[in-house]
Every structure is written in C-alpha cells, then in structure tokens.
C-alpha cells in the first residue's frame, strides 16, 4: 500500500500495541465474492417472470407539461404497464426527515415522475414495463408529451435575479431567523452566520484579500448506475432489491411517496458499485414498485449512463466570494464569505455545510458567512462526499495561499499558527472538542515530501487543508454466537468502503476473538434494526458503536452463562481478551463456552444500537507537486501526500483507501470534471468519454499519513474518514499551479484550456496576473 512506511500506520507499534485486532489489516470478509465476480449487485437481480422497464425523460430543460398520452405505448405488444405522475399519490407540501437531511415530499415526488413541469433535461416523465428492455424502450418513445417551452436558467447568479425564470411556484426565500419571502423565487434559503465584530476585524487587519470563485457542477461518477427491482406482492407487501447507501431511507422514501406503511416495504440492499452520496435519494425504486403493482410481476429498472449524469444528483456549481484579513504576524483577524450554490431543480443544495466548513480549519475571531440555496434548470443536486465543503475550501484555501505569498509566510507555518483547536468556536457557533487539525499540518511539515525540495522549471508545490463533519445518527447491530466459537454479525449499514470489515473488527476486538471469526452480513430492513444511511462519515464510528454494544451484550451473557455452568455468582466471573474466568482457576475460552451454549440454556444473541453521538469532525492537510506544460496548460501531478486525522484507524488499509479515493475524486473535480451545458440546458458531455474522471494514468501513487487523535466520543477513538479527503485537492492543486507558472486559478475545473487561458493572459499583460 501507499502508506508511508511506518509500522502499522498509526501510533501503534508491535510492542506498544493497545489492541489485538484494531490497527491490523485482515482480508475483508466480502473480498472473495468481490474479486471473483460472485458478489451480487443491483443489476444481477433476476426473478421469475420479471419484466424490464424503461423511462421516458424530458428533452427540454424547462417546460410546462400540457398533456401526456400513453395510448400508443400501451398498444405495443409485450408492454405490461405504463406509469406517469398520475399513478403517484400527491404527498402534499410536507417535509420529511430522512436521516441525513430533510426533503419536501412534493418536490421529491415531482423529481421521481414530473408532475406539471419538467425542470431539467432528463427529468423522468413516464415509465414502461415490458417483456424485454427493447420493447420497453420502443414503447417509452411512443409516449406523446405536449410541452409549453419555458426559458431555462442555468447560472446561479442569473437565477437569483428578479427577472429570472422561476422554476418552482411554491418556493419562497427562507432565512435561519425564520423569515419567509412573499413572492416566488429561485432562492430557497439564505443562511447567515456571524461571530465577533467583522468590521473592526477588517479595519484592524494589516492585509485584506478578497477574491471571487466559480466551480462547475460535478458528478460523483460511481461506476454502477442506479437500479431497482421491485415486487408488489398480491398481499400488498412490497420487496425492493436495490443498491443504495441506506436501505431504511429507501424504505421511508418509498413509504412517504406511495403512502404505504413502512412495515409493508422490505428493502434488500444489494452490493453497491459506488455511491459517494449519490445513492441516498430514490429515483427508480417507487417507479419500479408502481410498475409491479400495475403489471402484477416483478419489474427491474436500470438507468443508462447518460441518465445517471442528467437525472441523478450531482453536486452543485457555485459562486463564492471570500475575504480574509490578517494582522502583520499573519494571524487571521477577520473573514467573510458569500456562497451561492446551485440546488438544481428543487431546493436542497449543500450550501449550509459549505458555510459551516469554509473557515472551519482556522481560529477566526470575527467572521460573517452568507449562503444561498438557488434553484436552476439542472438535475436536483445531492450529496457528494463532504457535500459543499470542497467548493468552499477551494475558495478559502486559495485566498490563504495568496495571503501567504503576499506576506512571504510559509503556508504550513501559517496553518499551524491559525489552526482550529479544542475550545475554538466556529463562526457558525460550534465549539470544538479535541480535534486534529494542527496535527495534520504538523504531519505534512514533518513529511519526507515537504522536506524534499522541488526542482525544475514549471514545477510547483501547493498545500491546502480541509474539514468535514462526522455525524452520529442511528445504527443497529445484532450478533449471534455460533457453536464453533465464531460470531455472526448482522448490521444495517450498506457497505461502500469496507465497513463490514471495520465493524466486524470492532466486534472482534471487544470480544477478544479474531476478525476472521466474525461473519458480518448487511441485513435487509426486516432483518436488522433501524440504521441511518451510509453517509456523513458515520458508519465505522456509529455502527461501530452498535457492534461494540452488541459485543458488550454478548460478554455480559457469556459471563452469566459461565456462572450458571460453574454454579457461582456472576459477580465472580470475569471476561478478558476472549477468556472467561471464575473462582478457583475456572476458565473457558470463548470457543469452549460457545460449544456449551446449547446444553446450558440456549443461544446467545447480543444487540447494540447507537444514537446521536456527537463526533469532533475530521481534518486533513494535503501537499501536492505539479508540472505544468506552459504551452498547453496541462497539469501533471508528480507527487501527492495526504495527512488526515482518523482518530483511530480500525483497518488502516481501508482508511488509506478512503484517503486515496477522496484525493482521486478531488483531482478529477479540480482538473477536468464539469457538466458542459449548451444555452438550452442540454448537457453535451453525459458520458464517461467527455465527462473526464481521472484514469489510472492521471494520478500518481498517493502517499498517506494517518494521524491518530482519538475521538473521545467513541470507545476506540474512531473518527470518520470517508469524506474529508476530497475537500483540499482542488485548492492544493490551484496553489501548486500558481507556484509552478504564476497564475491564480479561481475557477473549476482547471482544465488545460482554462490554465492556458490564464497563462496567455499573463503573457499578454506582460507582468504578473492582475487580480
């Protein structure tokens, strides 16, 4: 692996090992199925009598639907069912809490099947189930829709103008203070956070720099398209097989949208080929269920790649303005930010977390942040790995680099001096518990990379830091002791990043058995207790706690059982490191006692839940070297090092994998990825050919430094690691590009044409780039 070669990647060494299982690198439990291709993903579901479905989608970015005529489609031989919005109940304008965020159900319903308007190209309008997918596609194209075309608005600042076309008649600007606007608008929310005396902070500053930034809409780029297979049984029970980040959130969304009790819906989570936040909202599941209801057969619905780009939830394009003032010693005296994020068709961009993250790495005495959630004629945005934070960090960390350049300050020293620490209050009001921002910067300072000089023309080095929350939410686990001394663990978190292994390892550590002696399964919604989504960097933390609690429950019961067998008081029986001991040298190994269970009172099942635990959050600091071709603007990444606080790394390989994966996605976002729209709102690059995620040739080996500042809220000190690594890369690369060729990139992507433009601009102006 790419870890910088320290024994076992963290604070632990073989001698000083605190743990037996945690910090080791066992083979993942689902590994064999994954590498042999036997793991079953959503598209692998096959049921007897199954029909295949296809969707009709809007060719227009903004239009009113006058009529939908499905008669020609219904007449095609082999067609078994057709559905439109008329088959969806009107959920009313209600807001439902869906675990990680709330949603207006009428908006969600209209996004699943358009009601009276289409709001983006690719908006789903109708679906057909047929004997095969070719018939379904042909029939879907025979559905006649009459539109009244409306002008689209695609840019966030244009959409905020008074004369902009309005997407949703029911949207009014709401503020955190509880005020609501009096007329329809595209600006759904205005967030404002303030701390200290901003005017005084800037007045006292020795240097103030203010800059504007723009970032393009980007997609998570998961390899597996969305999918759903549904069976609406004759008894009214619905089963849905789907790859999702949260089987319980799918259950709840389908329940709310179809107005059916959750108890009548079972969601079976299939293996998931990437989600990154994009597989939380439902798109196909309610439609497949309705088609099954109408046809009486199981129905499978799979998106094609173009629809994944055009009609699922990318992360927003944004306009950001950042102003930072520092005193003569380089201490931040004030900071101000204005963030306008594109929500897409319906409200709900991650501008609020963007506001909370933008200055989160630093101790800032005076600050003000304004954020706006703005509808535009693009697909409704959704979570993408640290949603909202990457856009924000690109802006803030670039301004900080410029301040360091102006004052000739070392960017690493600047970050150490201004770093957020325990007790620092963020501008949005949160006071930090023990966090590891300073430690990640220090790890970069101490790294071989930072200490190695970079030589050669057109080469540059950049540094940037980032923050992301870790949320707690709710998780459940149960575990059964088998007669052979192994434990079968059922937990509710769909596994997108090796979490089966890291949860099983926490159970094994607690019980004092080996990781291989735990068989973890991700349960369906009828097999395990309620568990929130795999998101918010929460699973290893929160579901880990549930597994820890389940293990503690088993330990208690094992102690009681041993006391029963030995006929002693359970107070005198102790559990330590997989061994149960009693008075007079009585001893059972875990395996020995497991073998006795059936003869001594029956099975032992442990249960555990966790709820609303607060985490301190995770920080990371990145360092990158680039080589920029001054004649083409192409950026080659020579070296990349990431230092991140993982609290305690349960399975270091998967922590490193998350760090590397986040960096790769951040590199793609930084250098080439963008939704490229024409003026009519049609995305021109809805394929992996022209939507350029990095290939293996585009990224170097990414060196990882795991910093371990344990989170006091978790029994083993775990912090979430999945999201924060995507936050710093665009800023780190922008700073490296400036260091290499002297141009400041303030828009994403920093594609060759964009970088070359700045280089040519600088050459023609004959001096350094003006701001």
């Amino acid at each position: 692996m790419a870890t910088i070669d320290k024994p076992d990647a963290g604070a632990q060494t073989a001698d000083s090992r605190k743990y037996n299982v945690i910090g080791t690198r066992p083979i993942r439990h689902d590994g064999t199925d994954k590498v042999t291709g036997r793991a079953k993903y959503g598209a692998d579901v096959k049921l007897t009598g199954m029909l295949y479905a296809a969707m009709l989608r809007s060719p227009h970015a903004h239009a009113r639907i006058k009529s939908i005529d499905t008669s020609k489609a219904e007449a095609v031989p082999g067609v078994r069912a057709v559905v439109t919005h008329a088959d969806m109940p009107d959920p009313g304008s209600r807001v439902a809490e869906l675990g990680e965020g709330a949603v207006n159900l009428r908006h969600l319903s209209s996004n699943v099947l358009a009601r009276d308007k289409v709001l983006y190209k690719g908006h789903a309008i109708a679906a057909v189930a047929a004997d095969n997918v070719h018939i379904a596609e042909e029939a879907a194209n025979l559905i006649e829709v009459e539109y009244d075309l409306l002008p689209p608005v695609l840019d966030v600042r244009e959409a905020m103008q008074d004369d902009a076309p309005i997407l949703n008649d029911d949207v009014r600007t709401e503020s955190l203070a509880g005020e609501t606007g009096d007329k329809p608008t595209n600006t759904a929310m205005h967030f404002r956070y303030e701390k200290g005396d901003v005017a005084k902070g800037f007045a006292d500053a020795h240097l103030v720099i203010e800059r504007e930034f723009e970032t393009a809409t980007v997609h998570q780029g998961y390899i597996e398209p969305h999918n759903a297979t549904a069976l609406w049984n004759a008894d009214g029970h619905i089963t849905i097989w789907t790859s999702t980040q949260g089987s319980f959130t799918v259950r709840q969304q389908v329940s709310e949208l179809l107005q059916i009790p959750v108890s009548k819906i079972k969601v079976v989570p299939m293996e998931i080929g990437g989600g990154f936040g994009g597989k939380i909202s439902v798109y196909l599941q309610p439609v497949a269920a309705l088609l099954s209801k109408k046809s009486g057969r199981p129905v499978k619905l799979i998106m094609d790649r173009a629809s994944v780009f055009e009609a699922t939830g990318p992360t927003p394009g944004s306009y950001i303005r950042v102003k930072i003032g520092v005193d003569s010693k380089g201490m931040i005296s004030a900071a101000e930010a204005y963030l306008a994020y594109e929500a897409g068709a319906y409200p709900g961009s991650p501008v609020n977390p963007g506001c909370m993250c933008i200055f989160a790495c630093y101790d800032i005495p005076n600050g003000r942040i304004d954020g706006f959630d703005v509808c535009v004629n693009k697909p409704r945005t959704n979570a993408y790995r640290a949603p909202g934070a990457t856009n924000a960090a690109f802006a803030a960390e670039t301004v900080i680099d410029e301040i360091c350049e102006s004052l000739k300050l070392d960017p690493v020293e600047f970050r150490l001096n201004n770093a957020s620490k325990e007790g620092v209050r963020r501008i949005d009001g949160v006071e930090y518990p023990r966090v590891g921002m300073w430690e990640t910067v220090d790890a970069i300072r101490q790294s071989e990379h930072w200490k190695s000089p970079l030589e050669g023309p057109h080469r540059g080095r950049g540094v940037a830091s980032g923050f992301w929350f870790n949320c707690g939410l709710k998780s459940s686990a149960s575990a059964t002791v088998n007669g052979d001394g192994t434990v079968s663990l059922v937990e509710g978190s769909t596994d997108i990043g090796g979490s089966r292994a890291s949860i099983a390892m926490q159970l094994a550590e607690t019980l004092g058995i080996a990781a291989e002696e735990v068989n973890p399964t991700v349960g369906d919604t009828d097999s395990v207790g309620y568990t929130d989504v795999t998101g918010g960097s929460r699973v290893t933390f929160a579901t880990g706690i549930a597994a820890y609690e389940a293990a503690c429950d088993i330990k208690r019961q094992m102690v009681e059982r041993a006391a029963l067998i030995w006929d002693v008081d359970s107070q005198d029986v102790h559990y330590g490191d997989g061994t149960i001991t009693g008075p007079g040298d009585k001893e059972f190994s875990f395996k020995e006692l497991a073998a006795e269970l059936h003869k001594s009172g029956g099975p032992i099942i442990g249960r555990g839940t966790s709820s609303a635990a607060n985490q301190g959050g995770a920080f990371g600091t990145h360092c990158v070297d680039v080589d920029v071709d001054p004649e083409t603007g192409k950026v080659e990444i020579l070296r990349y090092t990431i230092a991140q606080d993982a609290g305690t790394a349960i399975h270091p390989s998967y922590v490193e994998g998350q760090m590397q994966g986040g960096v790769v996605q951040g590199i793609g976002w930084a250098l080439n990825e963008e939704y490229f729209y024409d003026d009519s709102g049609v995305m021109n690059n809805a394929s992996f050919l022209d939507y350029r995620i990095p290939t293996c040739y585009d990224v170097p080996m990414i060196d990882t430094i795991i910093v371990e500042v344990p989170d006091p809220e978790h029994p083993y000190g775990v912090r979430g690691v999945g999201e924060v690594p995507i936050v710093p890369p665009p800023a780190a690369l922008a700073n490296a590009i400036h260091n290499a060729v002297g141009v400041r990139m303030r828009q994403l992507p920093m594609s060759p044409p964009a970088v070359l433009h700045e280089i040519l601009d600088k050459q023609s102006s004959g001096n350094g780039q003006s701001s």
């Binding site: 050919l689 290939t695 040739y697």
Partner: protein, 298 residues
C-alpha cells in the same frame, strides 16, 4: 436497441449490391466500435448492417516497391504490429496505437475511422501526412480520391449510395523520411483528440535540409485538414527549430476550430502551433534515424 438485419457478404460485388438502393439505411460494419455504440444509443437506426470484414480486398495489408496497401477493414493492432509500418509509416502506427484500449484496437479499423468522418479522427491526419489515396468501389466501378478530399463535413464524406471504401494506397516511402502523429487530450488516456497533428518529412541525403513535408490537422475544423502551405513552406529549408516554428505558425493559420466541451477555440488555435512544432521535430528526428519516445497523453 432497434432491430436490424445483418449480412456478411464474401465478395465486393455482393456487398455493393446490398448497399445499392438502400439510401443510407444500410451501414457498413468493419470493427463496429462506433457503429454498434451509435445503434445502441439510438443515434443511428439502420435497417441493415453489412459486415464487410469477410471481403478479402478489405483485409489486404501489403507493402511492396510500389507502395503500401491497407484494406479498409484491417484492424489497428494488425497495423501497429507490422514492423514495416512502424518504421516506414510511423505516423499511422502512432495513431493506431492510441485509439482505445487493446480490445478496441483489435477490432477498430482505419477505414472505419475515416468513413465515420469525425473531425477528430486520430488516423486521418496521419493518412494525410502519408499521402494516402482512397480506393472506392461502387455500382459504377472503382474511383480514387485523395484522402484529404474524402471528408466533406462532420460525419459526412464523398461516398455515394452503394459505394464502399475498399483500401488506402500509400506511395513508397523515400530515403531519409520520418513521420509522427500526436494528439492533445486533457487526460492521459481515454479521450478524443482536442487537437491532432500528423506530419511527414523527407530530408536531403545530408539530413540537414527538408526536401518536402506534409502536415495533417485534426479537430480544428469541420473536417480533418491538409495544411498544405505549411508543409510546402518547409521545402528547401534547413531542418532546424526556426523552420519548424515558421511552419507551425502557418499550420496554425489553417486551423478554424470551434468552442466545445473538449476545448476552446483559443486553446485549439494555440495548441495547433505547439503540437505541430512538437510533431515536426519528432518526424525530423525519425528521418535522421533517431528513435522518438512518445509518452502517453502528451
């Protein structure tokens, strides 16, 4: 995917008969790497697909004193595995090596690439540089068209109803000649050329003076371009950086690109010059017998 009929004729006459009168509703399948994808996505919906791989004339790969003959259905990997092509017609091998991955290269053909007539086709600038001639057969017999005159607009070409591209003919390579093709792509793999340049140069026996040069440009106009004046300008000039810079400027003047999702007009115009310089330098180095290392994606 819409249903279609499939035919795999064994002779040219049979194939021409199948195409004649179909008025565009029949499509030729060589490698099928573009065609099948377009049918699958609904961009094309032919009634008939004619597999032309079984026709012997379209599979010819022959180098002789009278030149080099390349059947229109010969796959890319047969081309870049042929040592003579690699050393003599290097630009063509360069272009075949960067189209897709191994699976695509074992099916995709240069003839198909040309007949798709995309402005960014990688092999076409190489064909222009190497002075290829298209041999076209049809119901009214056989005709020949210079490769730079083959494409007429994006996706369109001179083929008339019932006509098939049979082969590409290349004149024999001269002593002290060298050629190269290179494209600019934003990533290091899996991209369509934002600018593509193919160039061929012939040096005098002293290897210091350029006798003649041909330059083909891709992705900078509605069709691949023959930058004739840029090549002509080099005739008689010393084979040095100055001459090459002048020719590159001349080639840049020929570029008439658009802004699109792959690059801006500004970028394409600028990079036409940059890439022409780099490609000419490599072609000259090869003409001098030096080996040229080509890094992926540059």
């Amino acid at each position: 995917m819409r249903d279609f009929e499939y035919a795999a004729p064994a002779s040219l006459d049979e194939a021409i008969e199948l195409f004649t009168g179909k008025n565009g509703s029949a499509k030729a399948l060589a490698g099928g790497t573009d065609l099948i994808d377009h049918v699958r996505t609904g961009r094309l919906s032919p009634d008939l697909i004619v597999d032309i791989k079984k026709i012997s004339e379209l599979n010819i790969l022959e180098n002789s004193s009278s030149g080099f003959r390349l059947g229109a259905a010969v796959s890319c990997n047969r081309i870049y595995r042929d040592e003579t092509i690699v050393s003599e017609y290097s630009a063509l091998a360069d272009s075949c090596r960067i189209i897709g991955g191994v699976q695509i290269q074992s099916r995709a053909s240069v003839g198909g690439n040309l007949c798709n007539s995309g402005p960014a086709a990688d092999t076409t600038p190489a064909l222009i540089a190497l002075e290829a001639t298209c041999v076209i057969a049809g119901p009214n017999g056989t005709r020949e068209v210079a490769v730079e005159d083959f494409c007429t607009a994006p996706g369109q070409n001179v083929l008339q109803s019932g006509e098939i591209l049979v082969e590409l003919k290349f004149p024999p390579r001269q002593e002290n000649s060298g050629s190269h093709y290179r494209r600019f792509i934003p990533r290091y793999e899996m991209d369509i050329a934002v600018v593509g340049v193919g160039a061929s140069v012939v040096l005098d026996s002293d290897r210091e003076t350029i006798v003649s040069a041909r330059i083909g440009l891709g992705a900078v106009a509605p069709t691949p371009l023959f930058a004739e004046s840029a090549g002509d300008l080099l005739a008689g000039m010393p084979a040095n950086d100055d001459s090459i810079a002048q020719a590159a400027l001349e080639a840049q003047a020929a570029a008439k690109p658009i802004d699109d999702m792959r690059g801006t007009k500004e970028f394409r115009v600028h990079v036409t010059r940059v890439l022409t310089e780099r490609v000419l330098k490599a072609a000259v180095a090869r003409a001098k017998g030096e080996s040229v290392e080509v890094a992926i994606g540059h």
